[in-house]
Amino acid sequence: MIGRRPYRKRKSYTLTIVIVLLALFISISAVRDFFAVRPVFAAITYPFQFVVVSVWKGVTGTPGAIMDLHSLSRRNAELTDEVNLLSTKMLSMEELIKENERLKKSLSFRNISQYRYRLLPAQIIGKSPVPWFTILISNKGSRAGVKLDDAVMVKEGLVGRVVEVSPFSSKIMLITDVESSVAAADKRSRDFGVVVGAHRNRLVMRYVSAGKDIKIGDEIATAYISTVFPQGIPIGHILRASKGEHDLFYHIDVKPAVDFSKLEEVFIVL
């Protein structure tokens, strides 16, 4: 008598293998940018992000706003005085800018319009959901005039640059990101280098020749040689600078001028 093996449904791994191969393909292949899907997805998710961030800010901001209510009138008066003072100063500044431009023109300077940029206020509505890259999502996109590689700053200094634009939002790569590099200069000695991102909100300045004049505490700002960032935006100050006997370059640690953990509003340089 021939023994019959009991029927057992065999597990199919075909779909799983296909999914694994597709995932692998997506991760390592040239379709990294997912054709044009990324901006579309960013546009779809924007309303959700906006609603969530608005609710979150409303919930977390209300108790503080109520507690600060009594100091608001005093603060309002102080700010009004400050605005009046700054408006007056601005008038004289405008005159100085015009005079500066006129004089530069007469000296045949070619970079007259270097400081003429428009600042677009933007709100931070999210952060990239990946731990290794420091990418912020702002609520201003191509419809507001934001373009790829636009610089982003706050009043304390440089924040980063725009790396992806969708109609209603854009992604900003912080200067502390490991992928970021900024042409920079020491404001005192005018020595050039490249500021690159490191982890835990650190910056490192590279390619400053060992023979240059570098001091701890020196301010570092964007250099005129940069093709992305306008000149003179503060980046940070030198925290540590060291070099070995046979080193060609300094090893410089830079403390960022901006506290990136508390960014809520930024300015995009148009």
Binding site: T16, V20, G126, K127, P129, F133, I137
Partner: protein, 157 residues
């Protein structure tokens, strides 16, 4: 229906991760709610269903990211291994999920670091890797009790 619920769930979790937990970070470390969800979903569902769920969730996470896109492959591999492990498991599913999160959070972080290192995209010091892995594990573990009943309900819908 399950597909729709799962899609909405992934989108909501992603939004929470990108908007709220980006602000509520633990010494700069944010939880990976998608990883926790993938693990719990894989505990309750077949290999094929969890592979589709993890691929979709990872892909959406990659779409929101910028840089190296390895969330899809990491999540799919995690769901595969969870499905292999659960065949030999008998016991409480909640405890199993917690154990899996404790095991897979540092492993997935190390895997990602390995990929970044391999592609020459980033160098990390040991202190950063260890603290990041520990904090991420603790943070992810805290979310298992929150996400477990939701994912269970979606799985049984």
């Amino acid at each position: 229906m399950t597909f729709l619920l799962a899609s909405i769930y992934i989108l909501v979790v992603l939004m929470f991760q990108a908007v709220i937990f980006a602000r509520l970070n633990l010494f700069g470390v944010v939880p990976d709610l998608i990883l926790v969800s993938v693990i719990i979903y894989s505990v309750f569902n077949s290999q094929q269903r969890s592979a589709i769920f993890s691929a979709g969730a990872g892909l959406l996470q990659d779409l929101l990211s910028f840089g190296v896109y390895f969330n899809t492959i990491v999540k799919v591999l995690v769901s595969l291994v969870v499905n292999l492990l659960k065949e030999n498991f008998m016991g409480n599913e909640f405890v199993f999920s917690v154990v899996l999160v404790v095991v897979f959070t540092p492993l997935s972080r190390l895997f990602e670091i390995g990929i970044l290192y391999f592609f020459g995209r980033a160098r990390f010091d040991c202190y950063f890797i260890i603290t990041n892995a520990i904090l991420a594990t603790v943070y992810n573990m805290l979310f298992v009790p929150v996400l477990f009943p939701i994912v269970k309900r979606i799985s049984h819908a």
